[in-house]
């Protein structure tokens, strides 16, 4: 144990010394200069704004006073006089838009500006309660519904009966009558209203339905009654992820460098264990990432929470960097895979957190926890477990795969990415116990399957509802079938003779058992929250009655493998599609409760 630790430290020292000596001397000062420049430029941008949509529309106005409504909006070029050909012609109380898409968009833009104008007028009214006679006090209650009903596929509620009041099943609890007094003075409310005027309009411009942070917490005027988009906080969160991505690039490159001209051969021939080499090389970058996160989190004040949340993400980034560095054939491939990976990973982290105050799905991203921490919303240990669990597990599995493959054969051969991945998987299959290995591979593929499926969930929000459910069902089925068959495919390529009919059936059984066990484990561990929604039902319907999913998972794997056996490994993609069609139809059948 001690010697293992010493080995890691030795490698770390080498790594630090190497990067300190090989990096050209002027990189650090240039980077520092660029960083200062970045701060300056950002400052300048905040002053002058982003000029991306300037002068998109033209507007003719009848007087300077009318023009003042939109003069502050850079999207408009304003002309005095209403005779010209413009997108908008404004002579109060009339307004006319050109009969084009642009005219309509200009009208929409004007609408937002006009609302801002009115708000600014009312906010300065002497009798504030005449201008704002209605205030809404939002009170949140916790849903007490038992969601097993949704899981069984009966979640879609029927139309409400207008003639009979709904009656609760549980005893009615006493709710104190809210006070009719407002509890704030006029000037307190006015300060809140005026404060929300100055919000950045470049964001709300795209979609005016998202209001800014309310005047005074949950106390709002009717027009403020939309869930706030925690935009500032989300930007802050982005600040945490970017340095991680940058630093993991260095680790990736350091691994890649060992492979150029077989430079790492010396290291491999030393008595050092592969795990010591991998971890030792990683340690300096890990330390840097933790240090950067700590420094950045000082601005938010919740250093410990932020660190606890970011740490599994750091591990995940490093594990992926290691794998990419070990698998890429050239710098170009390295660049693209890493950019692709980081885009996908960033979106996985970033986009769910937008829903931080809207939907539980946001909890699949650890960043949501940071938003909660910054906002002061409490979250439980279960929430932490739920949103970081997949990162811990996938990082662990990736490290295990990489350490097992950290040898000359894998490092110094240049195979296309697809073959490389297959080789990595094949390395996990033991000759003696192929079925046990298949069971294990399927079991460990589940966290990745889940990540991909959750990603789909976010992506498919775009599409209108019934269609998105169908696409989601089949895409999710495809991912599952892929994960289930990948181990067998790896065997089929290396040892075609393995595929006897007896073995095909045994392999399908092994895969079935592995997948079901993994799915069940994950469900119990984390998924209670997601599976509550209708979308969750689309992903996890196969979990209801034990024998049906068993036969489904068996059938899916069996279809793929037997097609490969009959027609050869070339039909693998087609076999996958067929298996996922069967799987998808089954799931759809259960979601809709029989067509």
């Amino acid at each position: 144990m001690l010697s293992a630790l010493r080995q890691i430290l030795t490698i770390s020292k080498w790594e630090v010394r190497r990067s300190a000596t090989t990096m050209p001397r002027e990189v650090i000062p240039v980077a520092a200069a660029l960083f200062i420049l970045l701060i300056l430029v950002t400052g300048f941008t905040q002053e002058s704004g982003i000029h991306l949509q300037d002068r998109m529309y033209t507007a003719g106005v009848d007087s300077a006073d009318t023009g003042a409504i939109i003069l502050g909006d850079p999207r408009f070029t304003v002309y005095l006089g209403t005779a010209g050909e413009t997108d908008l012609t404004i002579s109060p109380p009339n307004i006319r838009a050109a009969d084009t898409d642009r005219g309509g968009a200009a009208l929409k833009a004007f609408q937002t500006d006009y609302t801002h104008y009115l708000t600014a007028q009312y906010n300065r009214e002497d009798d504030l309660f005449a201008a704002y006679p209605l205030w809404i006090d939002l009170q949140y209650v916790k849903s007490e519904l038992d969601f097993t009903a949704t899981e069984a596929g009966t979640g879609v509620s029927s139309a409400p009966d207008p003639f009979r009041n709904p009656t609760p099943d549980r005893p009615v609890k006493a709710v104190p009558e809210p006070a009719k007094e407002i509890g704030y003075t006029r000037e307190e409310l006015r300060a809140g209203l005026v404060g929300s005027e100055g919000e950045d309009r470049t964001v709300s411009r795209y979609t005016d339905v998202i209001a800014g942070e309310g005047a005074l917490g949950d106390f709002k005027t009717p027009s403020q009654l939309t869930p706030p988009l925690p935009f500032d906080v989300i930007v802050l969160v982005f600040v945490f992820i970017f340095p991680l991505y940058f630093t993991s690039q260095f680790y990736m490159m350091s691994v890649m460098n060992e492979r150029i001209e077989r430079r790492g051969e010396i290291l491999l021939s030393s008595p050092l264990r592969p795990s010591a080499i991998v971890l030792g090389k990683m340690l300096p970058y890990l330390v840097v990432m933790i240090a950067v996160t700590t420094i950045l989190s000082l601005t938010t004040g919740k250093t410990l929470i932020v660190l606890a949340v970011i740490f599994p993400v750091i591990l995940f980034f490093l594990a992926a960097a290691l794998l990419i560095g070990m698998a890429a054939r050239s710098f170009k491939e390295l660049s693209f895979i890493s950019i692709f990976f980081s885009t996908v990973a960033t979106s996985y982290l970033f986009f769910p957190s937008i829903f931080a105050n809207i939907h539980v799905i946001s909890l699949i991203s650890p960043l949501t926890l940071i938003i909660y921490a910054v906002e002061g919303t409490a979250f439980t240990l279960a929430d932490y477990f739920y949103s970081t669990f997949l990162f811990w597990v996938t990082a662990g599995i990736l490290f295990a795969i990489c350490i097992a493959n950290f040898n000359e054969e894998r490092l110094f051969t240049l195979h296309p990415l697809r073959d490389k991945v297959r080789e990595y998987i094949a390395s996990a299959i033991s000759e003696k116990h192929p079925f046990a290995s298949l069971f294990g591979i399927t079991l460990f593929s589940i966290p990745f399957v889940l990540m991909a499926q959750l990603m789909l969930l976010v992506l498919l929000f775009n599409i209108p509802m019934p269609f998105s459910l169908v696409v989601l069902t089949f895409a999710a089925a495809f991912i599952e079938e892929w994960a289930k068959s990948i181990g067998i495919y790896a065997i089929a390529v290396e040892r075609p003779a393995f595929l006897t009919w007896r073995n095909v059936i045994l392999a399908s059984l092994a895969v079935m058992a592995g997948f079901l066990l993994g799915e069940k484990l994950l469900l119990f561990a984390t998924l209670a929250q997601i599976s509550e929604s209708l979308f969750g039902a689309a992903l996890f319907t196969s979990l209801q009655v034990i024998w049906m999913p068993l036969s489904l998972h068996f059938a899916g794997a069996f279809i793929t493998i037997s097609l490969i056996k009959i027609f050869g490994k070339r039909v693998y993609p087609i076999a996958l599609v067929i298996a996922s069609l069967v799987h998808g139809v089954y799931n759809l059948y259960f979601i809709t409760g029989g067509f």
């Binding site: 990096m23 050209p24 990189v27 240039v30 660029l34 000029h51 991306l52 949509q53 998109m56 529309y57 109060p92 307004i95 309509g104 968009a105 929409k108 609408q111 300065r124 009214e125 009798d127 309660f129 005449a130 006679p133 209605l134 809404i136 006090d137 949140y140 209650v141 849903s143 007490e144 207008p162 609760p168 009615v172 609890k173 006493a174 809210p178 407002i182 795209y206 998202i210 009654l225 939309t226 054939r329 050239s330 170009k332 491939e333 660049s335 693209f336 895979i337 950019i339 692709f340 885009t343 979106s347 986009f351 809207i358 939907h359 539980v360 976010v458 992506l459 929000f461 775009n462 209108p464």
Partner: protein, 358 residues
Amino acid sequence: MNFRHVYIITKKELGAINAEKTIILAILLQLFIAMFSSFLIVGLAGMYDPDALSDYSRQKYPVAYTGSPSPLEEMLQESGDFVVYKMDLGTAVTALEERKLSGVVWVPDTASDADQPVKITLYTIKNDIQSSVVNNKLRDVFVAYEENLRDIRGDRISSDPIVVNLPAEIPGTNFYEFVYGLLIPLLIFMPAIISAALIIDMITEEFQHDTIETLISTPVTFSEMIWGKVSACFVIVPVQAVIWIALMVVNGIAVAGIVPILLHVSVASLLMILFSTFVALHYRERTSAQFIFSTAVVVVLIGVLSLPANPANLIVLLSIGAVGSEHWLVLAIMTGVLALCMVALNRYTHLVEKTALQ
């Protein structure tokens, strides 16, 4: 310079890009980013926009009305989005917790023309998509009620804002600004950034794998090789831009000024590629070069976007056909800068060849 040699190198590099499928990854990446940005805008807005959601089912939501009677009760019923139940507060909130209701409204007995405002309490389920939709529909009713109350208290309002009668509904223009003002410039400039990163890999790889000596021992000179790589990276930019524009047009998004857009993109992307070639030739090592380049790109992008009439803004204006002839001036200036950079790069390659490779 022998252009045949440049052409051979270009062809070789394009072949390598094709063989490694990097170009496919690059296009996938762009598609992914486009999908996600549209998710951010369209999906998000669609979620809040009741019309977008209720397209396929016109659902009525059950809400409870509690407290004192007021015109609001009737307004809720007339809106057509709600089934309104008159209930007592405790029962209503308990039913809400069991999701038998979508919201509970409590109204106090404050008079319409009272000195104090009317404070309505709205009970709702937190972190719930349906609640967001319901709240949004309730908002419309509340805003109408606010207008009513404001009229009743009108004699106490002193300001006299300009009144503009906006049409009640503006059809089909929700995402105009997103598509033209964000998606098009994003998609069109992404290939440029990708190509600029690509050239760094191509050049540093030759240095770090020590293949550079083999290469220049052939009849191809060092500077011909660099220009060959530059043109390989450059050629794929307008091609991708054309693909994106074609996709837009196929999807019914009319794009005006395609030729000037392509000219702007070509000049801007070649400038970026030349810049990263300088960086690559200077460091001759991938880690440093990519690091410096990507930091610099962020600085340059933010800087350029904060200038009026920047190329991205011009592309927005060109695509909606709202630009004057001033964009030709910007293009001319950019082309001038580009020419200077090309001369400088040519000099620099000779310098590198003499100092570093002898």
